[in-house]
Symmetry: C2
Subunit: 207 residues, 2 copies
């Protein structure tokens, strides 16, 4: 028997399933809309193609975690608008407080590991380009964050506070990529040790 049959209450879900439940806390949506929502800002840290979303929604529906309302759609098939059920919300809430263990995967860091097997000038150009790209993305995110603060989204009581939290993580990540890539490019370019530009520690906030 499969690991996720919907006949009992203690059904386990995949991370993607919980990601979809999370998206549905923002309001009902079709599979197509979920595929769009999975782009910004959560898409910076979790993505899925529609080919994965549709079957997963079917499984969530079978488990009773989402409910679909059918309408005549533009294409040959009915359009289905999904919404979270109380069971689905309970499952999401239970999953939220489980400490995650998965490690990240980063191809740019993997390439850095083999940096001195590559041509130094080409590698420096690669990381210089990455730094420039990160700087552009960073500026964009900073604007987004300012807009969100103007809307009060930095208040944990705001229904889309999560969007703001995710964006801040994106911002910090881009900052790191920018700084680290620039340091690596300078190191490879100069052929001599370059001190890492560590920022001074910010004030301690008690955690």
């Amino acid at each position: 028997m499969g690991a996720r049959d919907g006949d009992d209450s203690a059904t386990a879900g995949s991370t993607l399933g919980y990601a979809l439940l999370s998206l549905l806390t923002r309001g009902p949506a079709t599979g197509y809309q979920l595929a769009s929502r999975v782009k910004a800002p959560i898409g910076h840290f979790w993505t899925a193609k529609h080919s994965q979303i549709y079957p997963e929604l079917a499984r969530l529906a079978a488990a009773g975690w989402v409910r679909a309302a059918e309408e005549a759609g533009p294409g040959p098939r009915a359009k289905k608008t999904y919404e979270l059920t109380p069971d689905g919300l309970a499952a999401l809430r239970a999953w939220l407080v489980v400490p995650p263990v998965a490690q990240p995967r980063s191809e740019i860091t993997l390439k850095a590991y083999a940096a001195n097997s590559g041509d130094p000038a080409a590698m420096a150009a690669l990381y210089g380009g990455l730094a420039a790209q990160a700087a552009r993305t960073l500026a964009e995110y900073e604007q987004d964050a300012a807009d969100m603060r103007a809307q009060g989204m930095d208040d944990p009581a705001h229904p889309r506070f999560g969007n703001y939290a995710v964006l801040l993580m994106g911002l910090e990540s881009q900052r790191v990529v920018q700084r680290w890539s620039a340091w690596l490019a300078a190191s490879l370019d100069g052929g001599a040790p370059v001190p890492y530009p560590h920022p001074p520690a910010p004030r301690d906030n008690g955690y």
Copy 2:
């Protein structure tokens, strides 16, 4: 026909394949040793189980990118020590300068997206714990980095400069997780907006 038959020179490899080639630039190793090497420091950004490594090594050998020397092993099978071939090094060098596109996946960020669907106290405890864990890891990495600098590994000419570069990325990542998790815990705990403790920008190094 499969995508990675070894009969022609322009064979494409998987990221794991290149990761193994990268590890082999540090010297010949058995599959078992590669499974260990994939732990520190590169394991913070790329991991693989032996069940994935052994078949991949067989593919790399079939493509002529690695060469195996067989010896009598402790178990029922021969022990194989792999080394990089000139073709393998060329393939690695070509891969190194291709800008990566893959996006990271982060479960802790995904959970933050749905933060206000969870119990605030429980969520604050989760992120407070993550911040504490990151602080411990950070201290460990800072010690490692200092040791590496003492060995001259911050010089891009050092054969294990890549280890140092990867460790610095790990250090920065832990710093971000620590700061962001602590901010999130404080926000959820207080129930009111908490300014994000952005560090002042370090000096510009020209990139």
